[in-house]
């Protein structure tokens, strides 16, 4: 009996020892939901997934509200801070500190878009898959580059020159210490990426299209004062003889970043007042509210009051919960391009054409035509129209005031100083990136 037990015990030990080799080996457990880099993008399907990853990064929660909308609009006369986060308040008071965590979050989120794009751009050219045509391959590359262009465009308009990073992050040594490039170089990269996108975006994209790439090129050209280019790109974006008047407001999409209830965002939550289930962190400014002319049909689609308080309703999926709201981000609309064409014509002294374009926007909004445009007033007319047309859709107002040199005049009384032309680089990046010197922001 004892002997049998002994034998049994020894047998168990032996069996455990042998069978243990596989089960307990130090490489016995491997991840299934994540894979090493060299296995990530290997064919057309996985390349398509990596391209979708660029859109997903553009949807980052730190970008959809703070990145694209709140920071730039607080930092102008577009919106007011009505929330509880002090880091957001700093944008409203033109007093953004390097330690601002909200700013650091969306700065980082732009670079996540960039790194995701850089990864695909790095690996896709060498992927071998017979089903991956050159056209598809180039279209995927173009989506990555357009995503990267959108990210760098926001970075350069927020911070001026920033570190220009065009390769994926692999090593974590000295290569991470990248100095800020000049704003000009960043713009050059935006233009180069957008131009590639305009030339190569094909039919199988997840929404990006050549027209949107041209719209970005037109926007950049306008900012840089290259008005002829701006006109040409805008024409490429919407086509010759475009007519906006029959297209309902906000339905003149060139490219919107889309959301759904299962892949949602929270802007309606941040804009919505309490009675609509919102957090009410942001509200249209009194100035914006009053800027709508009587009879402007856009007003009811943009702003309202509830309980005596103003609120914005361009993001109005109030019935869905935060994180499940399906409002788009209005990246590129035809109306912006129409107004670019108007401004370009006016700057050429062609006020008839300028009036024709701006009045398309006004007619659609139920407003009377402008018929007295001249050298002295064209910019007022156009900036006013852009102010209300593009309200709360992004940094348009801030960009307009800066590019026309009016920022200090218009925003100065609220605290905007010349040094507010850029936000400070996040302190975390100054601390960790030994090649990065703080820019000339007000609090630096």
């Amino acid at each position: 009996m004892i002997k049998q037990l002994v034998n049994l015990t020894m047998g168990v030990v032996l069996v455990a020892g042998i069978s243990g080799c596989d089960t307990y080996a130090l490489d016995a457990v491997q991840p299934i939901d994540s894979v090493p880099l060299d296995l990530a993008v290997t064919d057309a399907k996985s390349a398509g997934a990596a391209r979708a990853g660029v859109y997903d990064e553009l949807q980052d929660a730190d970008l959809t509200f703070d990145g694209y909308i709140a920071s730039y609009t607080y930092f102008s006369d577009d919106t007011d801070w009505t929330g509880t986060f002090p880091t957001r308040a700093q944008f409203d008071t033109y007093n953004v500190l390097p330690s601002n965590g909200t700013m650091a979050a969306f700065w980082g989120a732009y670079y996540e878009v960039i790194n995701t794009a850089n990864n695909l751009l790095n690996i896709l050219p060498s992927v071998e898959d017979a089903s991956l045509t050159d056209e598809t391959r180039n279209s995927f590359l173009a989506e990555a580059r357009f995503g990267r262009a959108i990210a760098y465009f926001h970075l350069v308009t927020g911070w001026g020159g920033v570190p220009l990073i065009l390769t994926p992050t692999v090593g974590v040594g000295e290569e991470l210490n990248v100095p800020a490039s000049s704003a000009e170089l960043v713009y050059e990269q935006v233009i180069s990426d957008a131009q590639f996108a305009a030339d190569n975006l094909g039919s199988g994209t997840l929404g990006m299209n050549p027209e949107a790439a041209n719209a970005l090129l037109a926007r950049v050209a306008l900012m840089q004062g290259r008005y002829e280019d701006a006109g040409n790109f805008a024409t490429s974006a919407i086509g010759e003889d475009y007519d906006l008047t029959d297209v309902p407001y906000l339905e003149d999409e060139i490219f919107y970043l889309e959301f759904s209830s299962t892949d949602g965002q929270s802007n309606a939550f941040f804009f919505g007042p309490d009675a609509l289930g919102g957090r009410y962190s942001i509200a249209p400014s009194a100035k914006l509210f009053d800027a709508y002319e009587d009879g402007d049909t856009r007003k009811a689609l943009s702003v309202d009051t509830l309980g005596g308080r103003r609120y914005g309703l361009k993001y109005n999926d109030f019935s869905a919960a935060a994180g499940s709201q399906s409002d788009p981000i209005y990246f590129f609309r035809a109306a912006e391009q129409v107004l670019i064409l108007s401004e370009v014509a006016a700057r050429n002294g062609d006020f008839d054409t300028a009036e024709m374009w701006i009045n398309q926007v006004r007619t659609r909004s139920g407003l009377d035509d402008i018929e007295d445009m001249d050298d002295s007033n064209y910019l007022d007319y156009i900036l006013q129209e852009r102010y209300v047309e593009l309200a709360m859709e992004g940094g348009f107002r801030l960009w307009d005031l800066r590019r026309t040199g009016r920022a200090v005049d218009v925003l100065g009384p609220d605290g905007y100083d010349p040094c507010d032309a850029v936000w400070p680089f996040p302190q975390s990046n100054i601390d960790t990136n030994t090649a990065l010197e703080q820019n000339n922001c007000c609090n630096c």
Partner: protein, 999 residues
């Protein structure tokens, strides 16, 4: 483990008994004449011995030259009985004053406390269950150098346990918990956020089943646990049966939890006045809220809620087979309505001595628990959050019957009534072993250990909650299996006066974890709380991970007269690392008891000890070292992948090197005992998420950078003040002083955590960083004077932009005439300087009184509640003291700023010392009053024991802290963001009445 003790004794005692010459016999009893079963009897200076049988009797063959018998029994003083030539000896053992003869389990071998050279604290079963609603962790408070913090007051909530300070930033700081020799899975298994709080994996162990816990603190005792032992090791030994009469014991208690205090928030009319001052109109005019409503939210969500514990256990056996079985039921409803933790537990422990060559053992524990949680801190949907912040003018229910709410905040009553969140755990922890003795001195043992967790969470959020408009279902599961194979060989022998014990072994462990998670929205109505009724699936995820650990161990213990020495070594290989899989962990210790043979001066024991060793920490994600691409980055309906982590294939273990010096002494017939320790713990190769420029697309990469040091002193003193037959009084004092310091970080760059916590070289972990306030501006002239301080023509900034009278002034630390980030400094620290407790146990005849005071001194709390409840800038309800104390005119003091809105109020709410409060406290942690009926009475009615008791937990607290309670952390189990309070559920006071019956 119990069986293993027995084996060792048998080995020590059973050898060479065949050299017989004379037979002696007798009985061993306690001072009341109760036979002691299993007491060991050893012929002095030999290895000849035996144990007493079921009647406490023994027979032993002794050689003619034998001089005396050494008689010992756990919990009693050993006694040396001279052999007078008589053949019968009736030996009465006295109970052991300070417990020097108790056997403590250390690593893979049991040791008498007297022989210890490492630093080990033991906690008895009596102390483990002294607290109402006790958990494994709560009992650890009794051990010197162990800081126990419950992160919030929900039943089943998690704890922070720190043994000798904080050793890690990124890997876990929790000690390794080992149940009957099986290292178990700890931490929180929850995938559902309810604020900062997780669940408690150790709540699956019924404290009533625990015989003892040992906390291994120094490296000579922990090194044998190698790569997981840097934070200390807690050995949990469950109860085992004793030979003899079958004993049935039934324990039942019933009591209640209640909140200790409330925060004084304004009522409806006062809130209306506040809104008038803030917005220039009544609540009705500004928000459409009826200003005559006055809801006392805290009153509505806190209550005296019941808790009950029932425990039935049966133990007994004969000389060959012993068993312990139990069934337990706990139902603990927290002071916050809606929180509830229910647990059913069962245990069966068996020991069987098949022959003198084979011993079999099995310990098996099963629990089913149901933890009902509600939304917690740092979360606008949390019950306590909303109870503080939601204006009192909001009605509990609107006229249409819906819950009142405002500004997106949840209705606190709704949060406690209709939010359904259950975490259900089925868990089996067990082990089975067979020990074979080829010769008496050698034991070969094979052991299989299992820890199987089936953890499921179901949430139903009806549409009446603010967090969802259509109703939401969230379900997730976390199935974890740990299997451990352990093979050891132990040699016990002696050579002359030297005894030697040595173990070598190999241990193979594998963990497999499968998780999944989904959320679905849009239910037809609140009457369909099921996932298949939902229209819109939103998040769906699933993953699998795991790890393997291969270990080889060797230990040697040598004992010669008063000299004790031990050495151990462990090699650990872990799948979590790529290029540096193996780590080697040595430990050595030596001690000498100057009083081992005879008293030295007044000392019956005077033992100096020293130890040195290395331990590791591998508590990082299973695949954290690998560069990976992950899915889940879909855009609308197109699946997407992105680079998810950078990884670091060269990552190694964190290594902690600890040096310990100790002195143990005993006086006055073991009536006074002291254990003193001094240690220095240096942790190197700290595994840190080292921050990298976020322009890389990542904020950090995992790396071995940085180091940390803990230096400390510990004292545990025991006084047996009175030890008489009908009256005894014992006092135990424990105190620990620990200093933590971060000694290096990557490029010595600071890192920020939580709200205002900064990790920086030269500072302790958990330091707070912010501005320093300097009163409140009483008039414009003071502001103008400050604005004149900045003389730099290039900087066109006011001292504090937008400041007005009534706003805080801050100290300009760098003297540049402007207040900005550069003026921040260290303003407090979360770690205490000095912790400990005083435990008194009195018994007079059948009456017992135990009370335990706990203290924590020198720790600060970052009370971020004040930024909201005393911000005086928003719609949130202010506290009474802030509203009444608000600055309204010159001379109004420096406590609270003016009531103001918009962005300029931001100045007053900056991270500053305004929110740092002294979190020191002294607490009457537990007190028990019990009465046991005299045996003469109980025996007549067939009971061995009838005992009734009343006990309480958190009875009285002395603290200057202004909020609920200083023992809090809104960041749950965070390693670095410590001591922060933000709308966190406070711990509760518990009072319980109960009865123990023994048959």
């Amino acid at each position: 483990m119990k069986s293993f003790k027995l084996i060792v004794w048998v080995l020590l005692l059973g050898g060479f008994s065949s050299l017989q010459a004379q037979v002696v016999a007798g009985t061993v009893t306690d001072d009341e004449g109760v036979p002691l079963i299993g007491a060991s009897i050893l012929v002095v200076n030999t290895t000849t011995g035996t144990v007493t049988d079921i009647d406490g009797t023994f027979t032993l063959n002794v050689t003619p030259d034998a001089e005396a018998l050494q008689v010992s029994y756990t919990g009693f003083s050993s006694q040396t009985v001279p052999l007078t030539g008589a053949t019968t000896y009736n030996i009465v053992l006295a109970s052991d004053g300070i417990g020097l003869d108790e056997v403590v389990v250390v690593g893979y071998s049991p040791v008498r406390r007297k022989d210890l050279v490492g630093s080990v604290s033991s906690i008895s079963s009596e102390d483990i269950t002294a607290e109402a609603g006790a958990t494994v962790q709560s009992a650890l408070r009794q051990a010197a150098g162990v800081v126990v913090q419950q992160s919030n007051g929900a039943p089943g909530a998690g704890y922070n346990i720190r043994v000798r300070g904080v050793t890690s930033v990124n890997a876990s700081n929790e000690p390794l918990f080992v149940v009957d020799g099986v290292p178990i899975q700890a931490g929180s298994f929850s995938q559902q956020g309810v604020g900062g709080q997780g669940t408690n994996a150790l709540a699956d162990i019924n404290p009533a089943d625990i015989e003892s816990m040992e906390v291994l603190k120094d490296a000579s005792t922990t090194a044998i646990y190698g790569s997981r032992a840097a934070n200390g090791v807690v050995l949990i030994t469950t109860k085992s049966g004793k030979s003899g009469k079958t004993r049935i014991s039934f324990n039942s208690s019933l009591g209640y939890n209640e909140v200790i205090n409330k925060v004084d928030v304004v009522d409806g009319p006062t809130y209306n006045n506040y809104i008038n001052e803030r917005y220039g109109g009544s609540t009705n005019a500004v928000f459409g809220l009826d200003s005559t409503v006055s809801s006392d939210w805290q009153e509505l969500i806190f209550d005296r809620n019941p808790l009950t514990t029932q425990q039935l256990s049966v133990s007994g056996g004969d000389v060959k087979t012993k068993f312990y079985g139990s069934l337990g039921y706990d139902d603990n409803q927290g002071a916050l309505n809606g929180t509830r933790f229910k647990r059913y537990s069962g245990r069966l422990n068996l020991d069987h001595t098949a022959s003198d060559k084979l011993v079999l053992n099995m310990n098996l524990g099963y629990t089913n628990s149901n933890n009902k949680r509600i939304q917690g801190d740092n979360n606008i949907y949390g019950a306590v959050s909303a109870a503080i912040l939601l204006p009192p003018v909001v009605p509990v229910r609107n006229e249409d019957g819906s819950y009142g709410s405002f500004a997106g905040l949840e209705n606190p009553v709704a949060a406690t009534e209709v939010y359904e969140n259950r975490a259900i755990t089925n868990r089996t922890i067990g082990n089975a072993s067979a020990t074979f003795f080829p010769i008496e001195a050698i034991a070969l043992k094979a052991k299989l250990g299992v820890d199987n967790v089936n953890f499921r969470e179901n949430i139903f959020e009806p549409s009446s909650l603010q967090s969802t408009t259509q109703g939401q279902i969230v379900e997730s599961s976390n199935v974890r299996t740990r299997i451990i194979n352990e093979y050891t060989a132990t040699y016990n022998g002696s050579f002359g006066a030297t005894s030697l014990n040595s173990t070598v072994g190999a241990i193979f462990q594998r963990d497999d974890i499968r998780r999944n998670y989904f959320e679905t929205n849009d239910l037809p109505s609140d009457n369909f709380p099921s996932a298949d009724a939902a229209a819109t699936p939103s998040t769906v995820s699933g993953d699998r991970f795991g790890s393997t650990l291969n270990s080889y161990i060797a230990t040697v213990n040598i004992n010669n007269g008063g000299l004790y020495a031990t050495a151990s070594f462990r090699a650990d290989g872990s799948s979590r690392f790529v290029n540096e899989k193996w780590g080697y962990f040595p430990g050595v210790a030596a001690g000498f008891d100057f009083a081992h043979s005879e008293q030295v001066g007044p000392f019956e024991q005077f033992k100096l000890r020293a130890s040195y060793g290395q331990t590791g920490n591998n508590n990082i994600g299973d695949f954290a070292t690998r560069p990976l691409f992950a899915g889940g980055a879909s855009y609308l309906t197109t699946p997407g992948i992105t680079q998810s982590q950078l990884g670091n294939p060269d990552l190694r273990w964190e290594t902690t090197t600890q040096v310990n010096f100790g002195l143990d002494f005993a006086l006055m017939e073991n009536r006074i005992g002291a254990v003193l320790d001094f240690y220095v713990k240096n942790t190197e190769d700290l595994i840190l998420n080292r921050p990298i420029p976020t322009s890389s697309g990542f904020s950090s990469v995992i790396a071995n950078v940085g180091s940390m040091r803990n230096t400390g002193l510990e004292a545990a003193l025991t006084f047996v003040n009175v030890l008489k037959n009908d009256f005894s009084w014992t006092t135990q004092l424990s105190g620990a002083w620990n200093k933590n310091e971060v000694t290096a970080l990557f490029n010595d760059q600071p890192q920020d955590f939580g709200f205002a916590t900064r990790l920086a070289v030269g500072e302790p972990v958990g330091s707070f960083f912010g501005l320093v306030t300097d009163g409140i501006y009483q008039n414009q002239a003071q502001i103008d004077a400050d604005n004149a301080l900045n003389t730099d023509p290039d900087v066109d900034r006011d001292f504090i932009p937008g400041a007005q009278p009534g706003d805080f002034r801050f100290v300009d630390q760098n003297g540049d005439g402007i207040i900005n980030d550069d003026d921040r400094t260290f303003i407090g620290k979360a770690l205490p300087d000095f912790t400990g407790g005083v435990n008194n146990k009195l018994s007079y005849k059948g009456l017992e009184l135990d009370f335990f005071f706990q203290f924590s001194l020198g720790n600060d709390v970052y009370n971020n509640n004040l930024a909201f409840a005393e911000g005086l800038n928003s719609v949130f309800a202010p506290t009474v003291r802030a509203y009444e104390g608000a600055w309204r005119q010159e001379g109004d003091g420096n406590m609270f700023p003016r009531i103001t809105g918009g962005a300029s109020a931001d100045n007053n709410r900056q991270d500053s010392d305004r929110y740092v409060e002294d979190g020191s406290f002294v607490r009457l942690k537990t007190a028990t009053l019990a009465y046991g009926l005299p045996k003469s009475l109980t025996e007549n009615i067939g009971f061995d024991q009838i005992r009734v008791f009343a006990r309480g937990t958190n009875l009285i607290t002395w603290s200057d802290y202004s909020w609920f309670d200083p023992e809090v952390n809104t960041f749950g189990d965070s390693n670095v963001a410590l001591g922060t309070d933000f709308l966190t559920l406070p711990i509760s006071r518990t009072v319980e009445f109960g009865i123990n019956l023994g048959f």
